[in-house]
């Protein structure tokens, strides 16, 4: 079975600083997708960023970027210039075309003013 592991249950960062959230996954597939979702206190899950495994270039969305290491099966999320609104639960997810998403345990991010 495919698994996704987020080894950091909680992280904290000072406002305007940079933080990196870790995610590893286990699969024998070669073509798949990876996602980071954000869940603020409102509970609405928001897609932050996605990466297609066949693309070597790391995805970037404004202050959010990923470090995708396919051989190491690692997919970390870097948040630059952290803002108070970034405080949320972050979930890493994996899936292949035609299948469902498998999620990690989540990392609770606190942003300190």
């Amino acid at each position: 079975a495919q698994t996704v592991t987020q080894s950091q249950p909680e992280m904290s960062v000072q406002e305007a600083e940079t933080v990196t959230l870790s995610c590893t996954y286990d699969t024998s597939e070669s073509d798949y997708y990876l996602f980071w979702y954000k869940q603020p206190p409102s509970r609405q899950m928001i897609l932050v960023i996605r990466q297609e495994a066949y693309k070597q270039q790391n995805a970037t969305e404004n202050r959010f970027s990923v470090n995708f290491q396919k051989a190491a099966k690692s997919f970390s999320l870097k948040i630059s210039d952290s803002q108070l609104g970034d405080a949320a639960m972050y979930f890493c997810a994996w899936g292949t075309s035609g299948s469902r998403l498998t999620f990690g345990e989540g990392t609770q991010l606190t942003v300190n003013p």
Binding site: V4, Q6, P9, Y33, F35, Y37, S42, R43, Q44, M45, L47, R50, F91, A93, G95, T96, S97, G98, S99, R100, L101, T102, F103, G104, E105, G106
Partner: protein, 114 residues
């Protein structure tokens, strides 16, 4: 914008009751999913559906069933609610069988079984 609506934000039910959690999406998505979210366990898939009247078991289907009579509606049913089913339930939908754009989620139903 695609919208996924879950009928209740909070729900309190008694042990043994039959509970219906409703989810409706408004953008003609083929795929719909029910996840359960618990602290430290992330999101776990209960059931999913790729088409009307079609359903497949996820990782933790025991104690649950689903119904999809119309494309836009996917219902999760707890036949006889138990306290260990107290949790946050998230519904999601996606446009195609591919995962190019991930899922769109509802805002969740926090169910308490007493």
């Amino acid at each position: 914008d695609v919208k996924v609506t879950q009928s209740s934000r909070y729900l309190v039910k008694r042990t043994g009751e039959k509970v219906f959690l409703e989810c409706v999406q408004d953008m003609d998505h083929e795929n719909m999913f029910w996840y359960r979210q618990d602290p430290g366990l992330g999101l776990r898939l209960i059931y999913f559906s790729y088409d009307v009247k079609m359903k497949e078991k996820g990782d933790i289907p025991e104690g649950y069933s689903v119904s999809r009579e119309k494309k836009e509606r996917f219902s999760l049913i707890l036949e006889s609610a138990s306290t260990n089913q107290t949790s946050m339930y998230l519904c999601a939908s996606s446009l195609t069988r591919g995962l190019n754009y991930g899922y769109t989620f509802g805002s969740g139903t926090r169910l308490t079984v007493v």
